[in-house]
Symmetry: D2
């Protein structure tokens, strides 16, 4: 309530109560003041009530919410359903303008402001995650892999003749397809096995570059977060190669933000070699619904790439994924986000120990994958469930465990004409079948205990 209205209230109820209320009201307003002035994560997360107040304040700045507004344009952000209007807090104009995702909209000062603030908050989140040298970031309302396609398309504009993208093998369809979506051709670089762990074959990578010629190669698309027994790619060494050969380097850091180790690898890669941009999912890292990605860069060169990407997306985009991030960042605060990161790490260790304990009873081994901070894999030599080893994923799913993947290494798959032997293994032939799981942000002790219990129940050595 503004000063004038508070004054009028004093004519209705006792001045001293009003003055107390006014002071309290200012304290809440000061949270917004701090956000606008400092433009970073609040130390403590805001309560839902404050967030809702601020969202209402900001959405009031969009013209479709002006009480006197009349609209005679082609796009006036009229919303038919009150369910829809309410769920978007009256924000309807979307993001960006005239082919620039970051451009302000004259009709939507509130949405524009939310976009700016969300970008500040996300930059702070990236730093908190260990990406201390991050220069710039861009929130894109598209899937991580579609965003990777956009990054590649942007790179291509500078090196239009280069058709190839080198792809250290990572058996995920969407990521592989993003290269085609950008109108480019992938060259898969097979991995190598080091003890239990699957790692990037740097020699093969360099060999292919030399063979094809660096002017034919647009970029390397490397990966950090992945399922064990694959390890994150050796991105520092890749970055050094890319710098050496003047080749682009895009890192798929899908859910890597959750681990300061991944962040450290990216910082070092950017410092010692070339990283054009790295892309991460909003849903997997920030606990929002699927729908957005964050492109970021640690170099000044990367900064200009981000600007280009924002100008490559023609038209207005949904503000919804960015809004989820904005709300969540304010709700977490810096300390809340740090707790989540710490807890995830603890849960990973907790899970690994529990897993060892239980699966050794069945003569199984938790594979030794020291470089993968998210995921663990367990051999499937004896263990089975309801008489089947290969179907334990679906069996567990009917017991309401989601996320277990069984890999027998025997199937092959062809995507856009490229055949992957031992699909899902990230390598043609892995020594044994296994199942793999992940401990990602937000996982709880109850999740892990519930999983281990259902894993153990009714199961027997084969």
């Amino acid at each position: 309530m503004n000063e004038k209205n508070f004054k009028l209230v004093e004519g209705i109820i006792s001045r001293s109560y009003v003055s107390q209320a006014q002071q309290a009201s200012r304290q809440r307003e000061n949270l917004l003041t701090e956000l606008l002035a400092q433009r970073r994560l609040p130390e403590e997360g805001w309560d839902d009530y404050t967030i809702q107040c601020v969202l209402r304040d900001l959405s009031q700045m969009d013209s479709n919410n002006f009480i006197e507004n009349v609209g005679v344009g082609d796009r006036e952000a009229r919303v038919y359903s009150s369910i829809v209007r309410d769920r978007h807090f009256g924000l309807a104009h979307g993001l960006g303008r005239s082919g620039d995702l970051l451009a302000e909209q004259p009709k939507a000062a509130g949405s524009s402001l939310i976009s700016k603030l969300a970008h500040y908050l996300v930059k702070d989140i990236l730093k908190t995650s260990g990406l201390t040298t991050v220069k710039s970031c861009l929130i894109v309302p598209m899937a991580t892999t579609m965003t990777i396609a956009l990054v590649l398309m942007s790179l291509r504009q500078k090196k239009p003749e280069a058709r190839f993208v080198l792809f250290p093998r990572m058996d995920q369809k969407a990521c592989f397809k993003s290269i085609y979506a950008a109108g480019l051709t992938p060259i898969v670089i097979p991995n190598v096995l080091q003890d239990d762990e699957i790692r990037t074959d740097l020699e093969e990578l360099e060999r292919v570059i030399a063979e094809r010629g660096s002017d034919q190669i647009l970029a390397v698309l490397s990966t950090t977060s992945c399922f064990a027994p694959r390890a994150p790619d050796r991105i520092i060494e890749i970055a050094i190669q890319c710098a050496k050969w003047d080749i682009g380097h895009v890192i798929n850091n899908a859910y890597g933000l959750q681990s300061t180790r991944c962040s450290h690898l990216i910082v070092e890669s950017s410092r010692l070699g070339r990283v054009d941009a790295f892309v991460q999912s909003t849903d997997k890292n920030l606990l929002v619904p699927v729908g957005g990605a964050i492109v970021a860069a640690c170099s000044s060169q990367g900064e200009s790439i981000l600007r280009e990407i924002s100008q490559l997306y023609p038209g207005r985009a949904s503000v919804s994924p960015l809004l989820d991030v904005f709300i969540t960042a304010l709700s977490m605060g810096s300390s809340g986000y740090k707790s989540l990161l710490r807890e995830r790490k603890e849960m990973f260790e907790f899970c690994k120990n529990k897993m060892r304990e239980v699966m050794e009873k069945y003569g199984e081994k938790v594979l030794d994958t020291p470089n993968n901070p998210f995921s663990m894999a367990v051999t499937l030599r004896n263990y089975c469930i309801e008489g089947s080893a290969t179907h334990i994923g679906s069996k567990l799913f009917t017991r309401f465990v989601s996320g277990v993947r069984v890999v027998d290494g025997k199937s092959s798959k062809t995507i856009n004409g490229v055949t992957f032997e031992g699909y899902e293994s990230h390598i043609d032939r892995y020594p044994h079948p296994y199942f793999t799981i992940s401990c990602t942000i937000g996982i709880t002790k109850e999740d892990i205990e519930g999983f281990i219990e259902r894993l153990d129940k009714d199961s027997q050595p084969n």
Copy 2:
């Protein structure tokens, strides 16, 4: 409530009241039954209450909402903020899977079902709009123009050597840029003036095709909905040419769904010539927040293009824009949507008459643009506001009128190296300055009267 629970309730309150309530509960369930069985718009729109009940029922089908679910995958749709969770009704898994926007998600039966149903409803909406021969449609959670880029990228996969897209001039930046976003090169086809109206130059179009060679040309990108005095493109004739020369044809039908005349043009174009796909905005046509587009096709060939487009988008996408469409379609119902279409048409006539009445006082003329069913333009020879003719748009904006565009035809603009003389005129030199407005779906009598009043107030002949 299920039968068993109703039975138990009979032990607590009188059987006859319970039986009445159970019957009423079934009536509401029957609305869903009808939707699932008939898969088209309900005749009458559903009340918000029913919609919310159904959304809850469907979101309960997603694994993250199962009460016994434990998740050990990389993506478990955990949502941190309850504000965020509530605004998405607990739907968090997004759309699509493994690089197919239409693929079902095992973890998200509810979201998958909403997606299927939304597609059925949108197809019915298209038919109701007059697109009676529509074969297939695809809801894409991206801007209209980004979606056009996706369509062009999809076409290019079949004709990889064709680099050019013919673009009958339409001065909207995002649309023009969509061609670049697809990695292609536009060739602008200048328009011609016919009396007051700006129209497609079909001869020039054919001349360019012949000159460049049809194998160099991927597609024509034509436009239906646009600002007067430009008329919708002559898409029937363009379609015939495209068929003749075996060139793709994509129609930007941005807000064309609102006019059965546009729909008729598309139906005829598809019947007599070639139309690969036409793209429209969800926000402009269906009164939802910015964020989505609909690609549709009337031909079997188009149907297969749509499938390819859905497989071109790698990764999972936000379900949010599609959800808005789903809610809105159920809320409108067939009769509600028809009323909106009818009222828009009436308002367009009402506005044109009012405009003539008022602006003739200032010696201005409402331009004669019989082919544009959305927009009208008024000369600016004498009329000015606060002493300025060119700034009447911004002046009116400060009076809370949004959407008025003043075009003086004197500015030129260069986008991606291409220069447009008389930018915003759609033609190098239009005889006089004018302003242009639109009457789009959802516009009310109050909007028009409010606009006319503020237009008239404080203004004077120059």
Copy 3:
């Protein structure tokens, strides 16, 4: 958003957009300014968005919503469930203090303000309903009839020896019981039949007063709104008698606010005779959920009675019913409320005509009850449904028609020792059976047509 925050926003997005938004934000704030300054119904109803903003602003004034608040009292308005907190907009301290419903609460300036404003708005609603001379009103979070008991208890404090309340017969249990709830003894005054209509027997009333002695009689409890063929009591004449004999007069105006004719009767009664207070339901008149009543008075004496009533209720009361009234009053606005009154009247006439049309087919008559503006009754001589006349109420209820009451005049009922012959007839013996219905505020043409149709369907002359 406050000035300081708007200033900071100018460092983030363009000043001109911010300034426009600030101006629009002020327009919305001005609605509240107007309410605080004028303290009456807004001419036009507020949109839901504005109402929600204001509710948030006001609830921020309660100490439990202060972000820095710590509480060490016995009542700190902590709320466990966020569902509960949200549905009350964070308002948790209730109404009143130390045995005064109207007292301000130091911990709850916001709730106190809402209470004051709601009282201003309700006073304005009463005036709009035709109660032009109303002096004072009190919103009580209890049933109408419990509130009547409270009024009687309050009157008794001034005339402690008077034990009797005269009650012109009105066959509604709760109302009759309210006399007992106040610890008093009713004397039922039988009605008389005038043509089809049942009316107050003024002579019998005066006879009883004379017989018992006016010092034994605390008050007359009269009724305006009731089911046809009973008419509103002759309250003007009763008021004159009460003045003459120095007896209290309380009017049960349950749903009488909907008819300016009832209001007129009350105004005249207050002018020409004695009316201590009149009581009406919030739910029946203002379309809110059941839970509150309004006591009002047109005389200065009544004003002081209202103060006493507010001090008679010990303890804090639920703010919830008052909050519903506050929201609804702002949402209706003066013009919205007037429309509702007008439409109800039109619907009453519409229904009566339709009813005549249909029921005459069955040889039935709409009873001639010119003094009842809400309700109508129809004879049941031939008409029956599924072979039964007496059960048409329950039959229609299973066809989802609620509110039809069949009165066969044959049953008698004993309440607290008093026997009513021909219970529900308001008279011992009504000439024929009939059914009675009401057209109350908010009724729609669809209601009436739906009712008439189901009444007509499958029915036949007996």
Copy 4:
């Protein structure tokens, strides 16, 4: 979703996903099944999502939410504002019928069911609080003290000649006034000082009974929860006296449910003597907004009194306070409620220790009040804040500490003609000034630490 609809869904998405979802949907339905079958607190609290689903299911059972309903009665539960409708989940018919708060409503099976279930849950809560022998309870949508008045009015119906209520002095205005609200006359029984603690004077009580004669005395109104240094009344001994003299006994157990010690006292009082009913607040004990009270009894006789009370309230009452209790009980579950009780007890000890630690620095003493489990009092001999001892309550309030009461024992107050010396001390003359605070359910460590810190800051010995 019902079986039929799930079947239809199988025609749209894969059967195996549907079957999984159906199974999960049943798990949620089973929570309701369990509630309906067992009619007690769930062991674990329900998540908000489940509660909202159940509320929707139940509100669908009320006729105003039937989609085909047409209403022609005087009360059709139409709700004007969608804000209002939504906040009550569409429940609008209120509680009770024809002067019985517990009666089922034909038009509102859902509301009726909620009422029944809420009563079962509250009974279970009472048991969990230690009231193991509770026979019956009644949730009343009125203030605790108004409810006490209702209980007294109900008792009076059986002993109409008894005018007096004995009231062991408790300096709270609303409670004292409740006796007058019931039309009765209080006789205050002064307390005695035992060391630091203020206790019931049993001898004086018996003396007054003997003096007045037990047939003149309707009841004793005793108190459990109160501010230190007053202790809970000696209710066991009072109950024995009441049994001996055949006098009613009503216990004001305002916030006593929070302490198993109070519950134990009530159980023993009921076992060894006479307790007609005990009354407690819903807001103070169950963390809901102000608005309701619970009357309960451990004896069969009490059970019949409760039935009478429910029939004494004429008319329909707001369901809102009961609904808050229903939601909160489901949200807490048995284990959640037990945790709250345990934590409160711990916080009380924590606070007492902290208080001693800090206030001894100022030479103050935490008074020795071993019988009061909620509240503690601290002498004010030296401590002052901003130069004032008497105003530390208001000073702390401006520092956002609510609930501190300073008692200097010097003021006297006259209520309804009765003068209390040393008002707020519960005794004419307490040896020293003090302040008193409470640790009630929901209090957190942050509250206590925040309070102690602000108490200590800027303060100095006098």
